[in-house]
């Protein structure tokens, strides 16, 4: 049992580090983890759930706006991407935030093709991050169920 816990903890550590090294997460995610404790053990999961709900809603808004061929409301797209950039910054979703910056630039210059391409990338990226964080939370659960503690990972 101890060997299993140690293995899971090692996997968790390595996976967490890889998420930072591959640019999915930045320091702000570390700050989120600091806000989680025994009083609020699911805090990070709750916040990232809010974030992914935001992603779905805002990406859908932007897709709808960009679908109005010849009559695109770039102001609406701009305001949605501004909000998404803010939320991604708040949770440490580094790649998503970076793509939002690019999308905002395309929007400001009313570059329709650029906006469409970028929005597709944002969609792919947030879904990728969602899957990866789900894997991370699953690892945490496995550690706890095996009777172990979730290790602190210094990035």
């Amino acid at each position: 049992m101890d060997t299993l816990i140690a293995q899971l903890q090692r996997q968790f550590r390595d996976y967490t580090i890889s998420l930072y090294q591959q640019g999915f997460l930045d320091d702000q995610f570390t700050e989120l983890k600091k806000l989680q404790d025994e009083c609020s053990p699911d805090f990070v999961a709750e916040v990232v759930t809010l974030f992914f709900e935001d992603c779905e809603k805002l990406i859908s808004n932007m897709a709808r706006a960009l679908d109005q061929t010849g009559n695109v409301d770039f102001k609406l797209v701009g305001s949605s991407v501004h909000q998404l950039k803010g939320s991604s910054s708040s949770v440490g979703a580094k790649k998503v935030k970076g793509l939002c910056v690019t999308l905002k630039d395309c929007c400001d210059s009313q570059n329709f093709e650029g906006c469409v391409r970028c929005l597709q990338q944002v969609d792919i990226e947030y879904k990728t991050l969602r899957a990866k964080l789900q894997d991370l939370f699953n690892l945490e659960q496995q550690i706890v169920q095996a009777g172990g503690r979730i290790p602190q990972v210094d990035i």
Binding site: L32, L35, L50, D54
Partner: protein, 141 residues
């Protein structure tokens, strides 16, 4: 490092505010409201939230609201942070008000926000490390 942070780093760092604070968090973003409420909880305070500046003003309209601190986001629909701060000061609200800006805001925009009646400004994302020393410094003043 700001003067507040330098002074604090020379002493043992506290983990809570010098007195238990009742805080109003004003932000149109649900994630920020959640984050800031958690930070306030971790530094020993309790909080209530408002989704924009107009909600914050309405909370104070009957004269019964009593917050030690208001964290006021700058950009919000209905009524933005500067307008809400100005209105609250006109209503003789004496709470400490810390404006929450973004890194994209320039000096002029920050100065204009301060002019509305803030005690201080901080850029998002807020953290225990940047908020706690500032609050304790303002409590000392």
């Amino acid at each position: 490092m700001s003067k507040v942070e330098t002074k604090m780093s020379k002493q043992t760092k506290p983990t809570e505010t010098k007195k238990k604070l009742n805080v109003l968090i004003v932000d149109d973003d649900a994630i920020n409201r959640t984050l800031h409420a958690r930070i306030i909880n971790q530094i020993g305070g309790v909080s209530k939230t408002a989704g924009n500046g107009e909600e914050a003003v309405i909370l104070h309209r009957d004269g019964n609201a009593s917050f030690d601190l208001i964290l006021m986001d700058k950009e919000m629909p209905e009524r933005d942070g500067a307008s809400a701060t100005k209105k609250l000061r006109e209503m003789k609200v004496t709470s400490m008000i810390i404006g929450v800006t973004t890194l994209a805001d320039n000096e002029e925009e920050r100065a204009a926000f301060m002019e509305a009646g803030l005690n201080h400004c901080l850029a998002k994302p807020l953290s225990k490390e940047n908020l706690l020393p500032l609050i304790n410094h303002l409590l000392d003043a």
